[in-house]
């Protein structure tokens, strides 16, 4: 399979402080890849580095063969990378529908935007009910749905998700992960998923990386990772 995203020797710095110490990571076309690790391991920082936002990076980064390590955040977004950040990054003061329409900012086709809007409402009927409500009034789960939909409105090639299950009831998490699987299958959106809930992540993903202290300490197929001692001890509680 082709590599959609490839990172080699990726370092990331907040000011003078190095948080990632040389990561090699790739996401293949059409797959779901998981990024596991404890708090502080550098998972969020990795996603930020991939989007070129908020951190200073070194090392090489390429998207579908095109080098992006010098691009700005906006440019990376325009190249087809969607990022659902931790904390969701909802525009709280705007309505649900306005939030969604923003997802279309980089797209040229007006008609496509309108039909995609309906599609998102199809995935998440709750959003349709609340379309004219201020986004800040939505519950956590609804905001997560909103954030994911908004990212999808841009028709990204690669979707980066930062802890989509955080703070959500299990039922809602199941719902969301079900839709992620569907989107991956039907629309061939590749996904890089950061999750603390390793069990859940490994169910959805085909491959996974384990991050510790800013380095990759293990990687392989989900099956391999499930058997891996380090992963089991620390994250699967076996």
């Amino acid at each position: 399979m082709d590599k959609l995203l490839e990172a080699k020797g990726l370092r990331a710095f907040y000011g003078p402080v190095a948080v990632l110490h040389g990561i090699d990571l790739d996401v293949e076309q059409g797959e779901v890849c998981a990024l596991l690790g404890a708090n502080g391991a550098g998972k969020t920082t990795t996603l930020r580095a991939l989007c070129r936002t908020k951190v200073r990076t070194e090392g090489s980064l390429s998207l579908a063969g095109e080098a992006i390590e010098r691009r700005t955040t906006e440019q990376v977004a325009r190249l087809g990378v969607g990022h659902v950040p931790d904390g969701r990054g909802t525009f709280l003061g705007l309505t649900v529908e306005e939030n969604l329409r923003l997802g279309c900012y980089t797209r040229a086709d007006r008609a496509g935007c309108a039909s995609d809007l309906e599609r998102m409402y199809g995935y998440f009927p709750r959003l349709k009910e609340r379309r004219r409500q201020q986004a800040g009034t939505l519950s956590g789960g609804e905001q997560q749905m909103l954030a994911i939909s908004r990212a999808l409105m841009a028709r990204p090639r690669l979707l980066l998700l930062d802890e989509p299950s955080f703070g959500l009831a299990p039922l809602i998490v199941r719902e969301i992960f079900g839709i992620l699987a569907k989107i991956n299958r039907e629309e061939s959106v590749s996904i890089l998923l950061v999750e603390q809930n390793a069990r859940l992540a490994l169910e959805l993903a085909q491959r996974a990386y384990l991050l510790e202290g800013g380095r990759v300490v293990a990687h392989g197929s989900s099956e391999q990772m499930r058997q891996d001692d380090a992963v089991r001890r620390a994250y699967l509680g076996d």
């Binding site: 906006e74 909802t90 705007l94 800040g136 009034t137």
Partner: protein, 290 residues
């Protein structure tokens, strides 16, 4: 009674100008959380540019349009060259730079155009059909222009994708970037619009207040009061606040405290709002459910 209505109407007319300046202030504040202390001087400078064009024989509405365009570019240029590098600077530095801009515009106006008071023509003919006993032709015309400008602005912000992108960039720059919105360019656009709004306000108020470098300092203070009263985060509030302040200033000035304490009145208003309700009357309390 007639006198009262007269004052009320005059208050609304003045309030219209305050409202538009307040709108410019809110636009910049919303996007950057900075208060543009130089807004008044920029507007005055724009009015001077218009005056110079008119002196050179340019027809009014052409001069008007040209001034608006130039002011838009000036605003955008200032954001790009002077404000943007300060993105990460401490608050004091930013305030100092804004005061520096205020001072520079003030002195440029004086240097290029002189400190003597000048007459500025009104585009509305004195004997036009819509004159009335309550409001002069110019006052009505100015209100109409202001209203039209505010309406166009609101339509732009609420109904167009670019306006939506601007609001998003103002609200949450990081998330906006992740969606491909060029936030820096949106800020330039915001400043440009603020400059244009100020230019319109300046040209509408100059016939009444007469044109000199000090023209807008009082207006700016009232615009601040109006913006704070309406809610510094809220464009609608800015307009409402401006109108309220205009009416209050006129009524209090005529009936209570006399006209020479107008600035202290603005001061009291500002401090009162800041102390008792800093979010303003219509300030948007953004609901956050955790």
């Amino acid at each position: 009674m007639e006198a009262f209505l007269h004052q009320l109407a005059a208050g609304l007319a003045a309030g219209g100008v305050y409202a538009s300046m307040a709108l410019a202030l809110v636009m910049i504040y919303q996007a950057t959380h900075h208060i543009n202390f130089a807004q008044g001087e920029m507007a005055t400078f724009s009015a001077f540019i218009a005056w110079a064009l008119l002196q050179a024989g340019v027809p009014y509405w052409l001069a008007f349009a040209a001034t608006v365009l130039v002011s838009f570019s000036m605003g955008a240029a200032i954001q790009f060259a002077i404000v943007r590098p300060l993105e990460k600077a401490p608050e004091l530095s930013v305030v100092v730079v804004f005061i520096g801009l205020l001072v520079i515009f003030h002195s440029m106006a004086g240097w290029l155009f002189g400190f003597d008071v000048k007459r500025f023509p009104s585009p509305f003919p004195v004997d036009a059909w819509f004159g009335s006993a309550l409001l002069s032709v110019h006052q009505l015309g100015a209100m109409a222009v202001t209203l039209a400008m505010v309406a166009v602005l609101f339509a732009f912000l609420r109904l167009t994708p670019l306006g939506l992108a601007m609001r998003a960039a103002a609200e949450n720059a990081d998330s906006a970037r992740l969606l491909g919105v060029p936030v820096s360019r949106m800020l330039m656009l915001g400043w440009g619009l603020a400059g244009a709004i100020g230019a319109v306000a300046g040209m509408m108020v100059a016939p009444t207040l007469f044109l000199d470098p000090h023209m807008m300092s009082g207006v700016l203070l009232y615009a601040f009061a109006g913006a704070l009263l309406g809610g510094i985060n809220n464009p609608v509030g800015a307009v409402v606040g401006g109108l309220v302040v205009g009416v209050a200033e006129n009524l209090l000035g005529t009936y209570v405290i006399g006209t020479e304490l107008k600035l202290p009145l603005a001061l009291v208003l500002i401090v009162t709002v800041l102390v008792f309700r800093p979010a303003g009357l219509l300030g948007r309390v953004v609901v956050k459910r955790v």
